[in-house]
Structure formats: structure tokens, C-alpha cells
């Protein structure tokens, strides 16, 4: 399964990065969101680290929806989804492949969002940037596990991509809250005592939705329209 998943992820990444269409749209939307949110502060005034972290994850959440709509849209042309389903790989390999490629793409987008948030929201990073990368990577996996599962909603003739946002966002609340608090700690260098509890929440979220996706994905990703 892992081999097939890696092949799907490699295929998705090469398609996403060669055209760059999906990635550019995601990056632009995220940058726009961060810029618009920066208008909420007076000139010269600094945004609190908590607000900056919240804006960063808001941009990520919207970006995630675009990324998974794009990734699942790749197989909608020329009946490629049926080809994927007919291949000897298990359906879970498709979920894992999409989750991995989504994870990489989202991480790339965040590497643009992060300096933009620092610049537009007037932040200085007091904590460890390495811890920041680890937090982003860990929270991203939870977002991508759920995003890849529910992204399969956007396949078929009767899909409506805008609905995915309404469904996905409330489900992401635990991961987003943890991400906001942990990133606030990285930016401000304070609140280290709560890192353990929030890390536990992120690990639980990642584990629950990875397990749920492995069980539930074959029900969602079928040849039906």
C-alpha cells in the first residue's frame, strides 16, 4: 500500500508543481487573507501573537480546501478515477497518497504564509523556529488526514466544492485551536507549560482521523457518480 501511495503522491506533486496552478491560487488566497487581517490593526500597532497565529491557521485552513479540491479534481478528467480504482492498489493508498501530497503542498504554502504573517502582522519570533516547523508539520498531518478523507466528497458529477469548507472547518476546530496555541508559544516564547497538553491534543487528532480515514475512505472513493 505504501508503495502505491508514494507513487500517487509523486504523480500528484509533479502535476501540481509542473502547472503550479493549484499552488499559486492557494498561496495568493492565503496572502490575501493575511493582508486583509492586517488591516484590523492601526498603523504602527503590533498584532498580539495569538491573533497572528490565528490568522496564519485561518489562511492554512482555506488553503487546505483549495489543495484537496485540486488534488481530487486531477482524476475527474478522462475517467482517471476509474483507472485508479481498477488498479491493484487498495483504496486507502489513494487516501494516503493524496494526504501526503496535500501535506507537502500545504507545507510549501505555509512557508510563504509564515514570513507574510511576520511582516504584515508585525511579529518577532522569540521561540525556536525548529519547534515552529515541528508544530506546523504535526498539525498539518491532522488537517490533511481529514482533508484527504472529506476531499473525496468533491469527486463525481454532483460535487459542490463550496460545501467542503462548511463541513470541514468545524471538524478542524481541535487541531486549529492546538495549532494556534502552540504557534503563539513559538512566536511569543511564553506558555511553555501548556505545550504538553496541546501536543497531546494534536497527536490524538492525528491518530483518530488517520485511523478513521483508513476505515472510512473506501466507502467514499468509489466509481459511483
Amino acid at each position: 500500500m505504501l508503495k502505491a501511495a508514494l507513487a500517487i503522491a509523486r504523480k500528484d506533486l509533479s502535476l501540481a508543481l509542473s502547472g503550479a496552478q493549484g499552488l499559486v491560487q492557494t498561496v495568493l488566497l492565503g496572502l490575501l487573507l493575511i493582508f486583509i487581517m492586517s488591516l484590523s490593526r492601526e498603523p504602527g500597532e503590533l498584532s498580539p501573537p495569538l491573533a497572528a497565529a490565528a490568522v496564519f491557521w485561518l489562511a492554512t485552513a482555506f488553503g487546505q480546501v483549495l489543495v484537496f479540491n485540486f488534488l481530487y479534481g486531477l482524476e475527474e478528467a478522462e475517467g482517471a478515477r476509474l483507472g485508479l480504482l481498477l488498479s491493484p492498489a487498495p483504496a486507502q493508498a489513494v487516501w494516503l497518497g493524496k494526504a501526503l501530497s496535500g501535506w507537502v503542498l500545504l507545507f510549501c504554502c505555509q512557508m510563504v504564509f509564515a514570513p507574510a504573517a511576520v511582516a504584515f502582522l508585525g511579529q518577532t519570533v522569540a521561540g525556536s523556529p525548529l519547534m515552529g516547523l515541528a508544530v506546523v508539520a504535526a498539525v498539518d498531518w491532522g488537517l490533511c488526514a481529514l482533508g484527504s478523507l472529506l476531499g473525496a466528497l468533491s469527486v463525481g458529477k454532483s460535487s459542490r466544492e463550496s460545501l467542503l469548507t462548511v463541513i470541514l472547518f468545524p471538524l478542524l476546530v481541535p487541531a486549529l485551536l492546538a495549532g494556534i496555541r502552540l504557534l503563539e508559544t513559538v512566536i511569543s516564547g511564553r506558555g511553555l507549560e501548556a505545550v504538553g497538553a496541546w501536543t497531546g491534543t494534536v497527536v490524538a487528532f492525528d491518530a483518530v482521523f488517520t485511523a478513521a480515514a483508513l476505515v472510512l475512505f473506501p466507502f467514499l472513493y468509489t466509481g459511483e457518480e
Binding site: S159, R160, L163, V208, F209
Partner: protein, 222 residues
Amino acid sequence: MIRLCALAFAAASIIAQYLIWFHAPVEQSMGVVQKIFYTHMPLAWWSTVSFFVNFVASILYLAKRRDAYSRLAGAAAELGVLFSGLALITGMCWARPIWNVWWTWDPRLTTTLVMWFVYAAYLLLRASDVGGQRQDTVLAVLGVVAFLDVPLVFISARYWRSIHPSVLGSQGGGMEPEMWLAVVANLVAMGLFWLALLAFRTRQLGTGAAVTALMRHGSIRN
């Protein structure tokens, strides 16, 4: 069964209302506003039960592929959204005079609101044509995922901060026995109302599906 539950609800609600207004004492610090609690708590409680029924019915649908389970899950989600929405409104009416705010960050409030959002989206999906032929499967998957999220939302919201009173905690919340009787009576009355509505709505959805099948194919399938 629906009639029986409705009649039992009518009788139980008369008793429950009597217990609220004439038997349970007026709470010393909150005054008469505390009486909202006897409606608020059963609404919140039965909304959680609705979401659990949705979860179980969704698993059963995925396992057995019987339309009846999908209809039960749909009816439970509708009741869950209705009851949790009313629990939020009654909670706000209580919070305003007691906490001096309509809304505050609290694990229970936040969890209820997030669940309201999730299941409102579920109903939106149910009303749309998303998923096409596999819509029931899509909804069942969402029903399972949504309920798995409940404990995670609660834990993360609790880490954020909390001021909600733990009324049903191990200390009993400092309630008088008369108050407890009123709480239990209202829980039972609301439960009967919930059961009657759930059975009625499930049957109504079944009838609707049968009529649609008759119109489309000239036959009924279950």
C-alpha cells in the same frame, strides 16, 4: 408508538412544569432565572443523545446498507440541531443575567456550538445533491467523523479556558432534592418528546422515500 410517546409526553410535561414552578425552590443567588436550567439541561442532554443515535445509525448503514438506518440518522441529526440550537438559545438567556454576557468561551458552550455547525452542515449536505448516487454513504461517513470529533473539541476547548458551572459534578452542584426531582421529571418529559419526534420524523422520511420510489420506478425498495 408515536401516539403513546406523545400522550406520555403531554402527561409528563404537565407534571414537570408543576415541579419547576411550584415544587422546586427559587435558587438563592440566581433567582427565578435559574428555572431556565430545567429546560436548558434536558435540551442539551437529548441533543447529545441525538448525535449519538446519528453515529450509531451511520455505522449500521455503512455495515448493512439499509435505507432505514440512513433515515434514522437523518431524523436524529435534525433533532440534534434543533435541540442543541434551543439549548444554546436558552443557555444565552440564562448567561446574560448571571454572567452578564450572552456568550463566553467555555468547553460545553463551544462544543455544543461546534457540533451545531457540524450537524447543520450535515443537514445542508443532506438537502443538496452532493454525492449523487452515494449520498447516503457520504452522509454516514460524515456522521461517524462528526461524532469522533466531539471529545476532541471538548478537550481542546477545555484547555483554552472554562467558567461553566459543573452542575452535575460529583458534589451534586449544590442542588436541593426538590430541584433534582424537577430536573429528572424534565429530562423524562423531554426524552418522551424527543422519542415521539424521532419516530415521527423517521416514519415521515420513510413515507417520503416510498412516494419518491413509486413515482420514479413504480416500486418501493427498502
